[in-house]
């Protein structure tokens, strides 16, 4: 790994330097005139862009990419994020010029190939989740959650049941769940989980009532264990007139094995960038397709892909008058959806089940080996799902070594840190998710690193407190970073 920090591209800038071969052709005065931009809105000076040679630009961005800690270079066991490998074949086929050149406003008659891929993707997602219908338009996980809760609200409103504005979430929920409920105009009721990580059914029974719009659950939960009482949860919530929302963040663990639709869920979002192996991007582009039970189908966001004797076509507001509407320009991120489609076609039904099996096997293997190495498990009586939690509370007390210190030290071993301090229910926790794509040798290498770090925690805790040593930067001042945002290279005059 390159150990030198790369300076901002603005610092390479010299007036007048550039790469003429890369410049777009200057628009003619005639073209500018036709665009009819009002005179007052036209800029008088060139924008403050860096002026560098082509080689300087190439070196700058290549160096930045080399500083990047990525799944293509390093083990990345970031719990709850499912940083699985993205097979290059998915990329190769999604980059076919016929897909890349397709304009989203092209008539359906000339886009039948793309539309049939999307139609099959809708069908495959329905099949693997056990839902009645799917919409591909949400562009990220939280966007899919928003669609799901908006549909639940629309469903209650359509029945004239206007009092239902409470969403129940377990204490271990992803932060996006209460945020989604709030965005949809609901209030949030939090319920506890018991010592083994299952939802507290007594608390749930007390929490539901005529104001309950629904419950948002992840299964397996963020505690890395399967919610065993899910059928009772569904009975209680449905019995009170509410609906069940499945946060698909942890779908990888049960892929091809158990279906949210069969557990009683009414709405689900699927993070195609997690479970179906599309790139996570730096915050995008993602894809958060939503699936629903039959009673929510009329409310799905449009457009959808439908079929008739003429072939495939877009279904819009005319076909779905009760739809919650459009959540993205056109239908989500077409390139990301294609990658998910190709991934699912490559796996097939049997391959899909192996994803769940190997993701779970790898997590349980790591859990057992780290327990034997002396790490404390947060839920020692439970089998791991696709991820599991270690607690460093003992090390924090005895050696003043925290989960963050261990996470930072792992970077020196060439391993991305697991998720730290989530869920907050577990003190000093590391949430570890190896995914199905890692070999036995990689997992053993991780265990060796963790064994060496635990030995260091006992013999030389100060060494951990100052880690990492081999990264371009050491410990960042995250308090100052959160309180004093500086988002410009230097103040604009």
């Amino acid at each position: 790994m390159n150990q030198t920090l790369e300076k901002p591209i603005f610092e390479y800038s010299r007036p007048g330097r550039g790469a003429a071969a890369q410049h777009p052709p200057a628009p003619s005065a005639d073209a500018i005139g036709r665009a009819a931009i009002p005179d007052a809105l036209r800029r008088r000076e060139a924008p403050l862009l860096p002026e560098v040679s082509e080689l300087d630009a190439v070196r700058h961005f290549t160096r930045l990419s080399q500083l990047n800690f990525s799944i293509d270079t390093n083990f990345y066991p970031l719990g709850s994020c499912t940083m699985k490998y993205n097979p290059k074949a998915c990329n190769q086929y999604a980059m076919l010029p016929q897909f890349l050149g397709r304009h989203p406003l092209a008539p359906a008659t000339v886009g039948q190939g793309f539309l049939s891929c999307m139609s099959e993707l809708q069908d495959m997602l329905k099949e693997v989740t056990g839902m009645a219908a799917v919409s591909l338009s949400p562009m990220a996980g939280a966007h899919g959650e928003f669609a799901g809760v908006a549909m639940i609200r629309a469903y209650h409103r359509a029945r004239g049941d206007l009092a239902r504005d409470e969403i129940i979430v377990p204490a271990a929920a992803h932060g996006t769940n209460p945020a989604t409920a709030t965005m949809c105009g609901c209030s949030v009721k939090e319920i506890p989980v018991d010592a083994e990580g299952d939802v507290d059914l007594d608390a749930l029974t007390k929490a539901v009532g005529p104001k309950t719009a629904g419950i948002m659950l992840t299964n397996p939960s963020t505690l890395g264990v399967f919610e065993r009482k899910i059928e009772a949860v569904a009975r209680i919530v449905h019995g009170a007139g509410g609906l069940l929302y499945y946060d698909g963040a942890n779908l990888n663990a049960i892929l091809g094995k158990v279906r949210p639709g069969d557990m009683g869920f009414d709405a689900i979002h699927m993070n195609l960038h997690k479970t179906f192996s599309t790139p996570h991007g730096g915050g995008g582009p993602g894809a958060g397709a939503v699936g629903v039970s039959a009673r929510l189908e009329p409310f799905l966001p449009v457009p959808l892909v439908g079929s008739d004797e003429q072939g495939h076509r877009w279904l819009d507001e005319t076909d779905r008058p009760q739809s919650i509407g459009r959540l993205s320009a056109f239908m989500g991120n077409a390139g990301v959806l294609l990658r998910a489609y190709i991934y699912m076609r490559m796996l097939g039904r049997d391959g899909m089940a192996r994803v769940g099996e190997f993701a779970t096997l790898n997590a349980n293997y790591l859990q057992a080996r780290l327990r034997d190495a002396g790490y404390e498990l947060a839920y020692p009586t439970r089998r791991a799902s696709h991820e599991f939690i270690l607690t460093l509370r003992r090390e924090a007390k005895e050696f003043d070594v925290t989960a963050m210190d261990i996470a930072k030290r792992l970077l020196d071993f060439g391993i991305h840190a697991p998720t730290t301090y989530f869920p907050m229910l577990v003190p000093e926790c590391l949430l570890i998710e190896p995914t199905e794509t890692e070999s036995r040798e990689t997992l053993d290498g991780f265990v060796e690193a963790m064994v060496a770090i635990l030995a260091e925690a006992r013999s030389d805790p100060a060494r951990l407190k100052a880690a990492p040593y081999t990264m371009p930067v050491r410990r960042l001042d995250d308090v100052r970073a959160a309180k004093h945002l500086e988002l410009t290279w230097k103040p604009v005059q």
Binding site: G175, Y421, M424, P427, K483
Partner: protein
């Protein structure tokens, strides 16, 4: 073991309540809570005049690790809030039982504190959960 002053009352969710001489009740988060959260970077306090039920979310604390709700340990009306926390959220880390107080409530019932944990019971809860 974190510091748990004997003169205060506690909620299971790690808030403390102090009965003031004028009958109002001061509220903040405990030493255990601030230590678990780590360095705070933002505190949101409620508006004065707001009526709170016991257990209702009344403030938000955001640290470098997480954002969490603070729940009102008792029912009452907000009569004062600690505005200093807007510029200096670190007061909660430095002095959670003193300058890091969050709000003062006029309790809905004079016996409001009776339902809360005393220092011994709260300390017992922390010990049981490894805090």
């Amino acid at each position: 073991m974190s510091q748990v002053p004997v003169e205060l009352r506690y909620a299971k969710t790690h808030e403390w309540a102090r009965l003031l001489p004028d009958g109002s009740v001061e509220v903040g988060i405990t030493e255990h809570a601030q230590a678990a959260l780590g360095d705070l970077v933002f505190v949101e306090v409620p508006e004065t005049g707001r009526v709170l039920a016991a257990g209702e979310g009344c403030a938000v604390v955001e640290s470098v690790k997480a954002a969490s709700d603070v729940y009102s340990p008792i029912a009452g009306t907000v009569i004062a809030v600690n505005l200093a926390l807007a510029a200096a959220p670190e007061l909660v880390n430095q002095d959670c039982y003193g300058r890091g107080w969050m709000l003062r409530l006029q309790p809905a019932s004079p016996a409001a504190l009776a339902g809360l944990l005393d220092a011994e019971a709260y300390g017992g809860q922390l010990a049981a959960t490894g805090g």
